[in-house]
Symmetry: C2
Subunit: 172 residues, 2 copies
DNA sequence: AGAAACATGTAAAATGTTACATGATTGT
DNA sequence: ACAATCATGTAACATTTTACATGTTTCT
């Protein structure tokens, strides 16, 4: 099973929306994709260099990087590949699981952290929603909004859990 | 910022519950921690070897690995460290985000995948709950149940999202 | 007897983060 | 002038997966 990098996917996908510099690409990923993706410069630049060598990406006169037809074909075929489902590592839940060693008070602080992070997340997502609503409607909008919804549902789930967890932990 | 491995945490934590072999440790992680953690043999065995060299873990006569007092102290101090919050990479949402390139039909199949995975997840978690209820009540129980709740809330959030996503995608 | 599960490990390759270096452009 | 942001990259290091190798024990 060849595990081709998912970074390629994010990079090609980002450039499929509009040509931009590597720096702008990183900003875009941190902004809109921030709640379910991340990339560091240390990966973006080497990836862009390789994709350029392979003719998937070209640099325009103004410095921005643009997807070639070959790059778009590659993106489509990569997107169609089956998704690898990896249970993500959750450092908070790992600590709660071993909460007996950590103690109820420290666990409560972790719950607080989850709650404020989820609240912050909902604010950011509301901002993305507003941003999307400002732009002229395009073919990408429904897809972007679906990822926002997913982030919101997940954040609300964390808030609900925080309430339950706090109720349990104060009794210990 | 020294990024000491979180694998240490999972391994020490697992052995803090009861002594076991590396193989059993991996099974335990895949079982109970499966919905928010994973470790491969390629990491468990080298980690166990290092922790043994450092006197955190010793091998008993029956072959099982046991936490030493030093190991337990180390576990406690590592658990108390601030949690690094990394937005996990979500391959499905990445594909949905670029759904315009992928097409609505393929997106619907991804939604199906999320739904069946979430349903399966709820079944597994119900199983863990039943398992925990069978065992005599101990000091670990409330903590384990909190991680189960977190998994259930997250799974239900994915199910809700799947309904919304399907409604959106069938119109495209 | 044969299959499946138990058990331990290593090596290579891929993946990813962090820190550093360098310089241009823009805003105050 | 100065700070912040834009912009590109490299090198070192850490992490993680995958595939392979090997042998034992348990179940049918």
């Amino acid at each position: 099973m060849t595990r081709t990098s998912q970074t390629d996917l994010a990079v090609l996908g980002g450039l499929s929306r509009e040509p931009m510099t590597g720096y702008a690409l990183r900003s875009a990923i941190r902004g809109t994709l921030g709640h379910f993706w991340n990339e560091s410069f240390g990966q973006i630049y080497p990836t862009l260099a390789r994709l350029t060598r392979d003719g998937m990406v070209v640099r325009a006169q103004d410095g921005r990087l643009r997807l070639t037809p070959s790059g778009r074909r590659h993106l489509r075929s990569r997107l169609a590949e089956p998704v690898e489902v990896v249970p993500p590592r959750n450092g908070v839940l790992l600590r709660i699981f071993f909460g007996r060693e950590l103690g109820p008070e420290a666990c409560l602080r972790l719950v607080d952290q989850v709650e404020s992070e989820a609240t912050r997340s909902l604010e950011v997502l509301a901002g993305v929603r507003a941003e999307v609503a400002d732009e002229p409607e395009g073919p990408d909008r429904p897809y972007v909004l679906l990822t926002v919804s997913a982030g919101e549902e997940a954040a609300r789930a964390r808030l609900r859990w925080a309430v339950e967890a706090r109720a349990t932990l104060v009794l210990l």
